[in-house]
Each structure stands twice: as C-alpha cells, then as structure tokens.
C-alpha cells in the first residue's frame, strides 16, 4: 500500500493506482473528459489537473496518469488548480461552444464568461472514440490526422474503413456530439442555468 494525502486526508492506495483512481476511491471528485475506465489513459484534456506536492516541490499534473507515490500530497481544489481548470474549460468551450457537457462543466466549476475567441469545431479531440474503437472494439477504424490546430479525428483516406462494424461505440462515448445545449445560445455564450443551484452535482439539464 502507498500512503498519500489527498485534500488534507491521509489515505492509502494500492500500488499502481493513479491519483485519479485513488481520489475517486475515496469519493473526492476530479473532473475528467478524456478519461474513461477501461481505456488507456491519454492525458490530453488536462481537465483532471491537480496540484501535487512532492519533496517540497509543488506542480500541476494530470491526475489520470499520475501514479500514486508514497508521501505525496495531492490538492484537487487549490487556487492554482481552480484557475487552471477554469481556463481549460474556457478553452474547450471556445472550441465547442454548444456542447452540453462543457456548458454543464462551466456551471459546475464557476466559469461565467468565455474570454477567448469562439470557433466551433464540434470536437474536442479527447480521443475517447479512437481508443474505444481500438481498445474495446478491436477495430481501429478511426484515428487522428494532422498536427497542431489542424488535428482531427478521421478515417483513413476519408472513406469508411473496412474494419468499421458500425457498432456506434464511438458515438456512445463521445462527450460532445450529443444534442447541443437546448438554450438559445450564441457561440461564446454560456448557459449557466444551474450555476446558483446548491446541488451542483445534479446536472439538471442532463436529464
């Protein structure tokens, strides 16, 4: 067993767990987007960023791939973490303004404005569909193409792949391709409907 501190609580975790797994085991909530149980960690959305203090040094790190280590202290809600998380949600919203998942995350984590230039791309490149297809469906029909801001999820040669069985797992796991948030939103506008509700976990508009 590995002993560590999460948000002031001393806890024990199993060797090989990630910080995210340990936190969830003890009911500490850390938001994630590109993580899914059963798929390999990809650590790209950085939403699960936490502050890790190890040997007197503090740094931000993605908890979904950070292995628990003896004696480290994890802070999931420090000021540093909150600031980074808000900026990341804002960045994501600028690239997918109408995603309901992102709108709900904004309400939940107190993001009340988007200061960036919105550019709807309809995809946050979390790679869940790519990993789902490859790792769970053993198909590998989709992958990433291009670099930098031109990166996209694509099928080889832009034609339906022969290995695709149309199982729909990619759609099932996609966090942003559900119906857009129902409100009368312009790109760059925030719904924030549940911002004031005390039961923030309730996600009322998800029902």
């Amino acid at each position: 067993m590995v002993r560590l501190v999460i948000d002031g609580q001393s806890v024990e975790a199993e060797e090989g767990w990630t910080v995210l797994e340990a936190a969830r085991h003890y009911g500490v909530e850390i938001p994630t987007l590109c993580y899914a149980e059963g798929l390999s960690p990809y650590s790209a959305c950085r939403l699960c960023t936490v502050e890790i203090i190890s040997r007197g040094r503090s740094r931000l790190s993605a908890s979904c791939s950070y292995p628990v280590q003896e004696g480290i202290e994890v802070r999931t809600n420090s000021q540093k973490v909150r600031r980074a998380r808000k900026v990341i949600i804002e960045l994501l919203l600028a690239s997918c303004p109408n995603s309901r998942t992102l709108q709900c995350l904004a309400s939940k984590y107190g993001v009340t404005r988007i200061r960036f230039r919105p550019e709807d791309r309809g995809c946050i490149l979390c790679g869940l569909c790519v990993r789902m297809c490859k790792e769970q469906m053993q198909a590998g029909a989709i992958g990433f193409a291009n670099r930098g801001t031109g990166r996209e999820v694509a099928v080889p040669f832009h034609a339906k792949s022969e290995v695709c069985r149309e199982c729909g797992a990619c759609l099932y796991i996609c966090p942003v391709c559900e119906l857009p948030c129902p409100g009368p939103l312009q790109p760059g506008q925030l719904c924030n409907a549940c911002l004031d509700s005390l039961q923030l976990e309730a996600f009322p508009c998800k029902e």
């Binding site: 790209a44 993605a62 600031r83 900026v87 960045l91 994501l92 801001t149």
Partner: protein
Amino acid sequence: MPKIESPQSLERYREILKSEREKYRATVSVCGGTGCQAHGCEAVYRALEGELSARGMKESIELKLTGCHGFCEIGPLVVIRPQGIFYRQVKPEDVPLIVEKSVLGVEVVDELLYQLPDNGKRMVREEDIPFYGKQTRLLLKDNGSIDPRSIEDYIVQGGYAALAKALFEMDPDGIIDAVDRAGLRGRGGAGFPTARKWRACRAATARDGIKYVLCNADEGDPGAYMDRSLLEGNPHAVLEGMAIGAFAIGACEGYVYVRHEYPLAVINLHRAIEQARGLGLLGKNILGSGFDFDVNVSLGGGAFVCGESTALMASIEGRIGEPRVKHVHTAERGLYNRPTNLNNVETWANVPLIINMGSEQYAMVGTEKSKGTKIFSLVGKIRNTGLVEVPMGITLREIIYDIGGGIPDGGKFKAVQTGGPSGGCIPESLLDTPVDFDSLYEVGSMMGSGGMIVMDETTCMVDIARYFVDFLCGESCGKCVPCREGLKQMLYILEDIAGGRGTMEQLDLLKELAEVVRDTSLCGLGQTAANPVLSTIRYFEDEYVEHIVEGKCRAGVCKPLLTFLIDPEKCTGCLRCRKQCPVGAISGRKKEPHLIDQERCEKCGICLEVCEYGAVVRK
C-alpha cells in the same frame, strides 16, 4: 585494412597514418560547412584541386574539404596549415594566386585576409581574429581540420583513443563517475546531469538484455545548426561518444535520430558508421574487448516536437511522433519498451573529450554548476553570424560584442533570444548574465540547444512573441488542450495587440493563459511555449501597453499601427510616390504637395522608400 583487434594495434595504425602524412608539406582546408556551401565553397575546392594537380603538387600538398569552421558570415573559408593562414570570401579566381604565394611561397595574399571592422587592420591567422580568439573551441576545433569523410583523419587526430581507454582501462561505473566528476549536463535543452541519466539506465533491468542509447539530432529550432555542423563535420566524435556511453550503460544498440533535411549529415554519418564497422570500432567485439555495439540511423520527418524524447522514440518505432506522459522514465521503458538513454549530439561529442582530458581538467572550464563549453549559432542583427563555442559562464555581452562584433549598421541592441522558439528574450539590462543553465533559466529564458538570435531596435517585441507563438502553434502535435487551444488563443490575442485591436484586459488574459499553458501542458513543447510571451511581457511590457493604449509600434513593424504622412513643406510634387503607390492612395498634382488617403493606405512603405526629398514620414 583488416579489423583493429587491440588498443595496441590502434596506436600502431595511428603511427602508420601519421608517418604516411609526413610527405605533405602543407595542408589546405576548405570549409565545406552549410554556410560556406551556400557561398560556393565547392567551386573553390575544385579550383584548388585543379591548380594543385596542374602544378604537380598533389603528392606534397594535402587538400581537404572539412566541416564548418564557424565564421559562416565571411565564407568560403580556406585555411593553410601549418602556417595557419586564414583566407575569407575566397573565389575560384583567387586560387592561382593563393597557391602561388602561400602554398608554393611563404607570402600572404593581403586582399583575402580578414580585416578588423574598426581600424581595417588585416589579420593573418585564425586565432588573431577576435571572433575566434575569444572562443574556447574544444568540440569544434577538429571541425576545421578533419575531412569528415575520412576515419583516418579522425584517427590521426587522436580519434577512438578515448574508446580504447574506456574499454580497457576503465569499468562502466568508473566511466559514469568520470562523466559525473566532469559535471557534464545535457546540451539538448534541459541541462539534465548526464551521469545521473546513465546511472539510472545502467541500473534498469532489461527483460531481454537489450538496452539502447540514442542520439537526438532532430534540431528543430529554426536557425540553429550546431548539431548539424557537428554531425557533418565530425561524425566520428559523436559515434565514439555513443560507444563509450553504451559500454557504461550496458547497451548494445544505438540510434541516431536525424532530420532528413540534413542530407549531408546523413551521408557523412552513414559513411562514418561503415568505416568504423570496417575497422572494428563498431560492431562485434570492439577492439577485441568483447563489447558489442552497433549504431543505426533513423530519419525523422523534421517535426519540432519529434525532438521531445518520447515523441522521438515513437517516431523511431514508426509510430506518430507524439509525446506521451513520462511517469515511467524512458531509462526504464523507452524505445520498444526497453531501457533507453537519450542524449543530444553535442552531449555525446563531449564524452570522448572528458575521457581524453580527464574529468578534472575538463571541469576547469565553465562555472560551478555548468561545466565545459557550449556551441551557439549566433544569428540575427549581429555583425559576425556564425557558430561559436564558448566556455560556460561567459556573459551574453562578451558573446554579442566581443565575438559577434556587435550590431551592424549602427543599430542599437534591444534583446537577445536564447533557447530556440520556446526560449525567452533577454533585455540590455541583463547582458551581463553569465551563460549557464541556471542563470539563463532565472532570467526567464533557457540554454536550449544553442540558438541565439540578436535583435535590434527595428524588432518589435510583440511581433516577435507573435512570430514564435505562430511557429509553435504549427509545431504542436495537437494532442493536449492547453498547448493546442491555448497557443491558438494566445496567437489571436497577440494578433489583436499587434493589429491595434488589443485591450488591457486581453494583456492580462494573455499572461494568465500563458501561465496555464506552461503549467498544464503534457510535454516540454507546451510547457516552454509560453516563454517568448512571458519573457517579452516581463521585460518589454511598455511596448505591449504602447500598442494597446497609444496605438503605436515603436519599431515600426506592426503595420496597422503605422501612419504614413507627407510633409507639405518638403514635398516638391514630383509624382514619384503617387506613381509607385500600389493601391493608388496618393493624390496631388505635379509640383503641388501630395496627400495620402489614410483609408486606402496599406502601409507598405514604398512611398517612404522612393521619396528623394525626405517628405514622407512614418509615425
């Protein structure tokens, strides 16, 4: 030549080679580096070849095309040894005179000597020239005298003696200790202690006994060519370093990852590997020691991000060159999931030097925490562009003014950027900062792999930040959100500010965003990508504010902020600017003052250039 099977036969071979060369009265070296190639050194080489054979001197004069001599600004360079006469900007027509006077005779050709810019004094020898005199050329010294195509040349200069010493007089731990005592730190950017890395890889268990050593020759920084010059000019030094490292770590296989845009480096490297194998200096049972080690060359597509260690390994394996999280160190699971040690080209080239010089001697050069020398490619608004090797701890001022010769054309220094695209800009007030890993980091920049770009008053700092962020935006692999989306939004804000549309809130947002990108990105690219922005805001915030509040770009770079006006007092009405204006924004009749229509003006500045009366002003 059969394989060399013991250190003794290596020494014997060296003696034979040396005595074979005694027949030469003199050596003429032509620089064949990238810079001199562009200046036409091949033609000079061929002219020399023709001239020497026409005069029947091929047997008594050695002629060779070497690697980069460093002073690329004034190429093609020709050096005649043993006199050490240094000729610059040599043209094929100069060759007969050179041979007549300096090879046959003992005179020098005055016109081809380097002249001091201040007083016009002519310098005969390389070491008399301040550009060279102030350098400490430990790694580059052989670049100007070795033919990189010839392993014999390398051996004559003492090559592979360090490998023989390491294999027969030292044990692996002893070698690592020697590198440790020498204080060698990685030259690829981060300055990580090399011995610590080697020790970790040596300690790692390989499930099938296979470990790798890799050489990072991706060199993605625009304008940098240190690693290229080392590989092109002295490939055996890198191979010898890798073999010593492999022996210390317990690796049996090595890869050099080199970008395909470096064809000459690739050719020279392949040839060097073949030659070393032929002599038994690579391959099975090296020098009869029982140690096996061989090197492969892996060609990269030239992406900047492929220089990152995990992306580089993915790329060698044939996967997309994309970084991954590194919680398990590559020393334990790297290439093909086997223990792997990656070092930069220059780091490897330092290794034979340490073994030959001895750690203590080596550690005399440099500062307490940064030992040895560092090669920089000095470019930008600087008189002496070129490759310079300096002892760690030298100040930026010494590099820029004493070696670099200062700013040309009466310009005034503004900033120096070190560390490549993700380095920082350092202002005049910090020019006395010593050049070492820690000091550069403290001032908000970094050593990087050795790019050094000098900027003068005609450079706008907002524009520079915009330029680097734009470059990094294109080079980001696009995997993680802060780097992909964050850099893009940083670019938008910088474009707004440079375009006169920026607000003070945006400046604060830029700072906040840059810090988040730095703190949360997945790999080193994103983690350092904010440096150009943060360092320019730190030292040149007034320029940002000027753009935003006053709508002014003092360097005259940001076009939307410029206004071109015609002074009616000075304008003679010559029609010149009116005719040249590409958008027809200038009106006015002959002999009457002209007027620029500000709505139509595209700020190209042509009117300013063509006006002979100084009547056009830029504000």
